[in-house]
């Protein structure tokens, strides 16, 4: 029987980690789809050879475009919930059941898997934590919500949000911006504790220069799109 939950796994040059992530996902009885975002390494070949359900974008759209492809797929196929899960192994699939049960219990529009709601084994570097703290206060200020882990990509949304994201999703660094948009439109956002691992392969897309751009861009766009 088809599940009512779709797990969206955006992947860009993740040949080292993708199979391990997929194997872990297969243990659960949920539908999933890998969005191969125009990878230039062997990700596409691996997905084909191992018969992994996937959508291959002919060119690289960036994280926003890739994740939105997943939401559009979820919308077209009538899924009630969609979960984003990173292909690099940082998100722990063992938390999927917990995320779904909390979503059904609390009934928010969006539920974030947080590393900081309670004490977890997560050890992020100082600069990353400063960035997260910055976005925490930004969200409090402009959206009036308290989110301990605003940059977490491990999140589950309901049908209403799936339909929104299928129409409108930021191109890059979407995590914080969508929270501002949803909160200001009156959507409910909640958090629940999850564990996160160190990445199993590939490199983070955010370096020092990019993180400054990330913070400036998200602040600027969130302010403008919230108040105008």
């Amino acid at each position: 029987m088809r599940s009512n939950v779709l797990i969206i796994v955006p992947a860009y040059n993740e040949e080292q980690a993708i199979l391990q992530t997929v194997d872990q996902l297969k243990k659960f009885n949920y539908d999933f789809v890998v969005i191969n975002d125009g990878s230039s390494d062997g990700t596409g070949r691996i997905l084909c050879e191992h018969n992994v359900p996937h959508i291959s974008l002919p060119v690289n759209l960036g994280i926003g475009g890739a994740v939105q492809t997943g939401y559009r797929y979820a919308e077209r196929h009538g899924y009630d919930y969609a979960i984003q899960l990173d292909a690099d192994g940082q998100h722990n699939p063992e938390d999927l059941r917990h995320l779904i049960s909390e979503m059904e219990r609390l009934q928010p529009d969006l539920l974030i898997g947080s590393r900081f709601l309670e004490k977890t084994n997560y050890k992020g570097d100082v600069s990353r934590r400063i960035g997260i703290l910055y976005f925490y206060y930004l969200l409090r200020l402009i959206a009036g919500i308290k989110v301990t882990d605003p940059t977490s990509g491990y999140r589950i949304v309901n049908r209403r949000v799936i339909e929104w994201f299928a129409r409108d999703y930021p191109v890059d660094y979407p995590e914080v911006e969508v929270l501002v948009k949803l909160a200001r439109k009156g959507y409910t956002i909640r958090e629940t504790k999850v564990e996160m691992n160190a990445r199993q392969g590939g490199v983070s897309s955010i370096n020092a220069q990019k993180s400054v751009y990330y913070m400036a861009k998200v602040t600027f766009l969130s302010l403008i799109r919230s108040y105008l």
Binding site: H54, S56, P58, G65
Partner: protein, 120 residues
């Protein structure tokens, strides 16, 4: 008509001819062809109006008339840049949708092929 007026009207005329040629060869779509035709004609008109621009500049408090021309040119180029950035953003959004649609179709075709292979 003095020399500078001749140069300006000549340049505007060249722009007009270039626009007409590109439009005829379908290298410019209607919307942009019309815009550049309007610009080139405006250039010709400006060449005739150059002497009166002196009075206009004085009325605006600009002592040196060419500064007024630079100001007008700068504002026009700025407006054009914003317009083209807007178009670029629109095209990017459309391309994104197209890429996603192509990916969906590729997936559907692959699934159909698999089903067909199993049936054979």
């Amino acid at each position: 008509m003095n020399i500078i007026q001749l140069i300006v009207s000549g340049a505007a005329l060249l722009l007009f001819i270039l626009t007409v040629t590109m439009t005829a060869k379908n290298k410019l779509t209607d919307q942009y062809a019309f815009m550049w035709l309007a610009f080139s004609l405006l250039g010709v008109l400006m060449s005739f109006a150059l002497p009166s621009l002196n009075r206009f500049a004085t009325a605006l408090g600009i002592a040196y008339m060419p500064s007024l021309i630079y100001l007008i040119a700068f504002l026009v180029v700025l407006a054009l840049l914003i317009y083209h950035t807007h178009l670029l953003s629109k095209q990017e959004a459309r391309t994104r949708v197209l890429v996603q649609e192509v990916a969906f179709l590729k997936k559907e075709v692959a699934e159909m092929k698999k089903k067909e292979d199993r049936g054979l």
